[in-house]
Amino acid sequence: MNWRKYFSVYELSFLSLMATLVCVITIFLKTPIKVPGHMAIFFVIPFIIGIGVTRKFGSGLFMGVLAGLLIGLIGTGDKGILNVFEYMAMGITMDFLALVFKGHLGNVLVGCIIGAFGSFAKLLVNYYVISATGLSANILIIGIGVTGTAFLVFGGIGGVISSAVLNRIQHIHFLNQNLYKTQKPKT
């Protein structure tokens, strides 16, 4: 396999846009909901749409690394560059689940599972990073019941939205890779 051509320019551009959208959502979108993890409803959407449009294993990881770096380097992340591990974990988890449910990403139940498990993976890595860096992990464990459930539920809702959106945009001409592959130059 030629790794340099694994993603096309279109795909890389689209995934980069989605990763940037995750960063923008994290920084600028403020909601009055005071439940921890509620932002999962928003930041899983670009991930699932990115994976669903490119349909390639590794899309989630690519977006995770880019989104984590952006959030960490711009300085809004509370753990600096270590934020990259959270988003990487989310991307890898979604990549594997997309592989398991290959061809069914438009199903809202599948979207729910991918979104929920992806955001939960982010939470787990967040706890691990906090513990490893000597921060106050004990305090966070006191509320992990509600926090963990919130990440699962809000991630799931975000996943349902993503699948609904994917269903609507899959027919769009420029997103359909098969069209490009079968297109022959006019003679």
Partner: protein
């Protein structure tokens, strides 16, 4: 495996994860909290002369916060205030990280309000305090039989609610004396920020804190922080109204349960 079975297994794992996180939380929270006093980080008695600021009805934040729930922050307040450096922060290795504060009043003829502020050197000053009103509010208020308000000669109201240097009333001065004049910079620049991480609680097992109103002139409460920023030093903002006479005394002891 067929698609429907994959989906069923996934939702089963979904349910199990929810049960697992609550199980972890339950196992953790049935542990008892250590509230034993070790060495005191602060043991000092403050008098009427320790009030350096006031009279006022507000405490500093990104805007004026009411000094007590129900008090009009922009109104004419009659609280005199002092900032006390507790010279302590939570021990993150503790089951329930917190700072224990023991207080004892003599000559209190009115209401005393306690609010917590916290300092991180790297962040350049004090940027956090407890929420006074609304969801997530916490605070500790001691009320004794009120006397008529008297005027203290020396204190002056704080000049602003943020971007101000506030002097501590400790004899030893500030634990982090960055400016050499025993003051801390209170710098609240994020709208609505800084109100979710510091809490005052009467039970360390409830780190989100609670509002307590009591008439006990001697007692104990706990200060803690939640979130990712590790506070380096806790400070107590003490506000008292009513008659503040020459016999007024407030003894404060801070210690860190391990």
């Amino acid at each position: 495996m067929q698609f429907k079975y994959k989906l069923a297994v996934s939702f089963a794992i979904f349910g199990l994860l929810i049960l697992a996180v609550f199980a972890v939380q339950w196992v953790y929270t049935i542990q008892t909290a250590n509230t034993t006093v070790g060495n005191y980080n602060l043991n000092e008695t403050f008098s009427a002369a320790s009030f350096l600021y006031g009279p006022q009805a507000w405490v500093p934040d990104v805007s004026k916060l009411p000094i007590m729930p129900g008090v009009e922050a922009n109104g004419n307040g009659n609280f005199y205030v002092m900032l006390v450096d507790l010279n302590a922060t939570s021990n993150l290795g503790a089951t329930y990280p917190c700072v224990r504060v023991d207080y004892s009043f003599i000559g209190l003829h009115g209401t005393a309000a306690f609010h917590v502020y916290a300092y991180i050197k790297e962040k350049g000053g004090i940027q956090w305090t407890n929420r006074v009103e609304g969801d997530g509010a916490s605070g500790f208020y001691v009320t004794a039989q009120a006397g008529p308000s008297n005027i203290l000669a020396n204190p002056k109201p704080l000049p602003n609610f943020h971007n101000i240097c506030v002097k501590v009333s400790n004899k030893e001065g500030a634990a982090f004396n960055e400016y050499g004049n025993n003051t801390y910079l209170m710098e609240f620049d994020k709208p609505g920020g800084g109100l979710n991480v510091l809490h005052i609680t009467t039970d360390p097992r409830n780190p989100d804190g609670n509002i307590t109103a009591t008439s006990n002139l001697t007692g104990t409460f706990y200060l803690d922080f939640t979130g990712h920023s590790v506070m380096e030093d806790f400070l107590l903002f003490v506000a008292v109204n009513g008659t503040i006479g020459n016999n007024f005394q407030l003894n404060l002891k801070s210690s860190v349960p391990t």
